[in-house]
């Protein structure tokens, strides 16, 4: 299907001259002459959805525009503003007319640049500026008093703007807010922050309208609610159906693993056949390895580059600009390139590993060919047998136009605390009015007054039952009963800590020449998580920035490495998939497994694998959970197949092993992947009452006991404590050198949990973990779903379906979080060492 009738009408982003004309629509009457002429001069005519947005804007209505990439969506968002601004006298007071917010700094800059073209060509005299973390402080200050007509910025900058004293004046006459890539930010903590900012804008500028721009989503209603009350929906024309192929040879499909080594020659072939390819992988480590393997085979020296978030910014910019110039044949990248910047030249998308969600797949496919009328081409490369199923399920879903809907999160209480503090920084506030305003933001519509009051209490004095901190309060009541900041330092701390992205502590990686003393300077290659670097000993090799590197040691605040000739790195830095399998896709995979009549489409090895499973064990029916037990070596195994994603399986594994311990099964460890959970023990678990073992009551005391000591949970607490403003962020480069005593948030967690387990920050942590790192919500749904529908099979040996799970054991084993074991082992090895003659 092509857009708007018979003539194809590519309008890539909005400034590309190669577009054939389109027949004028009836709605052209909404278009002022200057604009109609401009469209005509480019050989375009306005799209129906662009006109629809102009019409709604004239009526003062808020609109959500859902359209695929390449539909002239961004221009549609700005047209009404440009038309309104063009009608204003050239000499006018400087006031902010339109505020544009994008989740990506780079996108804001890119859109601003693209917007300059029509503005210049029509001679509109509209001032356009960006405001990001990179904008010089002097300009940011000036923007508050002498704003441009259109300001393009990010959610964090919006939070800072509304927390400033100038906010009422700055936003008083704001006419429009444009939110880009809304589907990518809604339902995240940044979305919470943005929703609170929008609620404030509604109070500061009651007359403004909102425009939301979104890729195709399963259910637009949450986005409409997010945007503004009374938002209307406009849909752009659908693009051409993508062409999705799945690379799965009949000869060989690996049992397990995530690297798809077997397929690299084919991937390189696909790159060779296309003009420019994006090769998506799911983790940074996978990006490194894929890049390396491609280059090992790349005899034609095709220009293949690497792009991921840990590389030094300068290096990323280099790749991006080479891409824009069309100098690259392929970029191996992670989700850093999922969104945003338009690279018209990309005509081929390759996804290595399973897509994890249908919407993510659509998004990635959309990166190829920003032209509506031509099908985007994508190649999926499953790296193991389960992923073949997942790729098939994802392709079916995309072709059927079905997408995964997200489970809607409640707005984070930690984000709320940050916003409450920011509100006080702008001006003293009335608690009733602020509560009403916050409850108008969709993520907080179910926030109770009691929760709000507890958050306010937390911001003011820490919110502790033991009222010790009144004299150190950060907020105080004024004589009229309003809340104000107690000290200018509080506002300063707020500005330093604004935002909801908490990075793992990172460490610089510096490359030095061989033979020089470690630490004697070197070029920065980028940054790696400290927890990864911590595991290395000098001499270990690992891949980073496309090279195999040898770890030399850490000096001060950087890790020093040298190049090595070793073709293979010793230390794999693979940490499993970053994105959990979506609930929607999981269900489709389960269905596919449960229906043998659908197996015909699968490659022969996969088909055979399932057939043997059917014969040797059981193929679970829809809705059933299969639990197998069997002996292997000296150990007894229990393997189940919930297909609920690694995070939920990991939590299930932690809880079930606790139970097995109590049942004296002597569990030794477990491993979880996206599809299955495998547990091994000394005793045979086949005789257990599985209904009881998988009973939902594990989410009570067992969960509670585990949370007390879980590292993942403590990490969630740390993030919440930083966002809520209890503790400050660590800023790279601000750490003092020399002897330093650091003080872990774990200590705070332990003390708070002991004395006030119901504290609001612990509640925020639980809610965060339930949908985040521990995925408790999903686990709970699964346990409820399989109640009374568990089928068990005792086997004398491993089943075909269990093989992938067992193969991953050595790589992804989680031996509980038995801290004492680590200490004991360390002591034993020390003794062994000492006793060696």
């Amino acid at each position: 299907m092509s857009a708007a009738g018979t003539t194809p009408s590519p309008q890539p982003h909005f400034a590309d001259a190669q577009c054939p004309p389109l027949r004028g629509g009836e709605g052209d009457s909404f278009l002022p002459e200057a604009f109609a002429n401009w469209f005509a001069s480019r050989g375009w005519s306005a799209r129906p959805h662009q006109l629809a947005l102009i019409e709604r804007a004239a009526q003062g209505k808020s609109v959500l525009l859902v359209a695929p990439t390449g539909g002239g969506k961004t221009l549609a968002g700005f047209l009404p503003s440009l038309i309104e601004l063009a009608a204003l006298p050239a000499r006018r007071p400087r006031e902010l007319h339109t505020l544009y917010i994008s989740p990506l700094k780079a996108l804001a800059v890119d859109v601003a640049r693209n917007l300059e073209t029509p503005v210049a060509e029509m001679g509109l005299g509209v001032r356009i500026e960006t405001r990001t973390g990179d904008t010089p402080a002097s300009r940011r200050q000036r923007q508050k008093t002498l704003p441009p007509d259109i300001l393009l910025t990010t959610p964090e900058q919006l939070a800072l703007l509304i927390a400033s004293r100038e906010a009422p004046r700055l936003f008083k006459n704001l006419r429009a807010v444009v939110l880009d890539e809304l589907h990518a930010i809604n339902n995240t903590k940044r979305g919470d922050l943005l929703a609170l900012g929008l609620a404030r804008l509604r109070a500061l500028a009651p007359g403004h309208r909102s425009v939301g721009l979104s890729a195709t989503v399963a259910d637009p209603k949450p986005l409409m609610e997010f945007l503004a009350p009374g938002t209307e929906l406009v849909r752009g024309a659908a693009g051409a159906q993508p062409e999705i192929s799945i690379l799965a040879s009949d000869a060989h499909v690996p049992w397990s693993g995530h690297l798809a080594r077997h397929a690299m020659a084919d991937v390189l072939d696909a790159i060779r056949r296309a003009k420019t390819s994006l090769v998506f992988v799911n983790t940074r480590a996978q990006a490194e390895l894929t890049f390396q393997q491609l280059w090992r085979l790349n005899e034609d020296n095709l220009a293949i580059a690497l792009h991921h978030g840990s590389l030094a910014p300068a290096q990323r910019r280099k790749v991006e600009s080479a891409m824009t110039r069309g100098n690259l044949r392929a970029v191996v990248c992670t989700s850093t390139l999922d969104l945003g910047i338009d690279w018209g030249a990309v005509d081929n998308v390759i996804c290595i590993g399973a897509p994890k969600g249908a919407a993510r797949l659509v998004q990635r496919i959309g990166r190829a060919n920003h032209r509506l009328d031509e099908p985007s081409k994508a190649l999926l490369v499953p790296s193991n047998r389960f992923e073949v199923l997942e790729c098939e399920a994802a392709r079916d879903a995309v072709m059927a136009g079905e997408l995964d809907g997200d489970r809607l999160r409640k707005g984070g209480l930690d984000v709320l605390a940050q916003h409450v503090l920011g509100s006080a920084c702008a001006a003293p506030f009335d608690a009733d009015a602020l509560y009403a305003e916050i409850a108008s933001a969709s993520p907080y519509k179910s926030l109770s007054r009691d929760e709000f009051d507890r958050v306010l209490d937390f911001v003011a004095t820490g919110g502790y039952a033991l009222k010790r901190y009144d004299r150190y309060a950060r907020l105080r009541r004024t004589d009229e009963g309003k809340w104000r900041v107690a000290h200018p330092r509080v506002a300063q701390q707020y500005r330093m800590n604004v935002g909801v992205i908490v990075e793992d502590p990172m460490i610089d990686i510096r490359l030095q020449s061989k033979g020089r003393p470690t630490g004697a300077g070197g070029r920065s290659l980028g940054q790696l998580e400290e927890y990864f670097v911590e595991q290395l000993v000098p001499g270990d090799t690992f891949t980073f920035a496309g090279d195999v590197l040898r770890f030399e040691g850490i000096r001060e605040d950087a890790a020093y490495v040298t190049r090595t000739r070793d073709p293979e790195a010793q230390v794999p830095s693979y940490n499993g998939g970053k994105f959990p399998l979506s609930t929607f896709l999981a269900q489709r995979v389960r269905e596919m497994v449960s229906k043998p009549e659908t197996w015909d489409v699968l490659p022969e090895p996969v088909h055979e694998w399932l057939r043997i499973q059917e014969w040797r064990s059981i193929i679970p029916k829809p809705g059933q959970l299969l639990v197998e037990t069997f002996p292997r070596g000296a150990k007894q195994y229990l393997v189940c197949y919930p297909f609920e994603g690694r995070l939920a399986h990991q939590t299930l594994g932690m809880l079930i092993t606790r139970r097995l311990e109590r049942l004296r099964m002597r569990p030794l460890g477990f491993s979880a992947n996206e599809y299955a959970l495998a547990i091994w023990a000394l005793r045979d678990m086949g005789g257990l009452d599985m209904a009881k073992l998988f009973d939902e009551d594990m989410l009570g005391d067992d969960l509670d006991a585990w949370l007390a000591e879980s590292n993942l949970y403590k990490r969630t607490f740390r993030n919440c404590a930083i966002i809520a403003g209890l503790i400050e962020r660590r800023f790279p480069g601000r750490e003092k050198t020399g002897r330093q005593v650091t003080f872990s948030s774990d200590l705070i967690y332990d003390v708070l949990r002991e004395h006030e387990p119901d504290h609001i920050l612990l509640r925020a942590t639980y809610e965060d973990a339930a949908t985040g790192l521990l995925d408790i919500a999903r686990l709970a749904e699964m346990l409820a779903r399989v109640r009374g529908r568990i089928v068990t099979k005792r086997l004398d040996r491993v089943s075909p379906l269990a093989v992938p799970a067992l193969l991953e054991i050595s790589k992804e084993m989680v031996a509980g979080e038995a801290h004492e074991d680590i200490l004991r082992e360390a002591e034993e090895s020390l003794i062994a060492d000492a006793m060696r003659i």
Binding site: Y464, Y472, E530, Q740, V741, S745, E756, I822
Partner: protein, 249 residues
């Protein structure tokens, strides 16, 4: 407890308690270092409203160690209070709990850089250092080696890495001639063993003894203990944060 780990320092045998205290059976003396009462409220004063319960947790842990060992004498190795007016910020309950603590035992409060003058109502002796049999108790390890020195001040910590997981724990450090105790306070931070401030104290080999849940483990050190996997840097602790300012130990 059969699992007790003990080491000899200058000829005196000390039992390393899993709480971080050192127990000297011969003299029925229990030693705590760097208790840092009211560190939480000290941070609150500067705007970080940390849970105001650190003193209670610390008191509970001290009471448990005292009940376990039943000492005749208790030595606090300095920095018992996080700042000069920390003692005034204790509430009545905490003050009473502190007064009850080790009732009947003789208390020795050694002064530290954080608490050069602990409150006199504490009872017991308040001294800059004290020599008992073969041991010399003081807050800060001396620049010049003194046999039998038992000190705190440095808050030693060590990181143990096994099978890709790492664990950071407070630890005792000793070469058999002197010893540094781990900090005891619930909010007391840590300084990595690799820091030169710790390494400089020992000329040759030394051992590190990490606190487990119910016992202490000999895990690392230098020299004879070379199997230790060296820790990256102080900041490498996964959840480490610098609150407000860097603290000088």
């Amino acid at each position: 407890m059969t699992d007790d780990l003990s080491i000899d320092v200058n000829g005196e045998t000390l039992v390393l308690d899993a709480s971080g205290a050192a127990w000297w059976p011969e003299q029925a003396t229990l030693v705590f270092a760097d208790i840092h009462f009211e560190k939480g409220s000290s941070y609150a004063r500067r705007g970080a409203l940390l849970p105001p319960y650190d003193t209670r947790t610390t008191l509970r842990r001290m009471a448990e160690a005292i009940a376990r060992r039943a000492p005749r004498r208790i030595v606090a190795l300095g920095d018992s209070f996080h700042d000069r007016d920390a003692a005034e910020r204790l509430d009545d309950g905490e003050r009473a709990a502190l007064a009850r603590l080790g009732r009947g035992a003789e208390w020795v409060w050694i002064t530290g850089n954080h608490d050069p003058a602990p409150p006199s109502w504490l009872g017991g002796a308040i001294v800059p250092e004290i020599r008992l049999a073969g041991l010399l108790f003081r807050h800060e390890p001396g620049v010049f080696f003194q046999p039998g020195e038992i000190a705190g001040h440095l808050h030693p910590c060590t990181t143990v890495t096994r099978r890709g997981r790492s664990l950071r724990r407070r630890c005792f450090v000793s070469d058999g001639r002197r010893m540094v105790l781990p900090a005891f306070g619930a909010y007391a931070g840590g300084l990595d063993l690799r820091d030169p401030a710790i390494g400089a104290l020992f000329e040759g080999a030394f051992g590190a003894f990490a606190l487990g849940t119910a016992r202490v483990y000999a895990v690392a050190g230098r020299g004879a203990f070379h199997s230790m996997r060296r820790k990256a840097s102080e900041e490498s602790q996964p959840n480490a944060i610098a609150i407000a300012t860097v603290e000088s130990p």
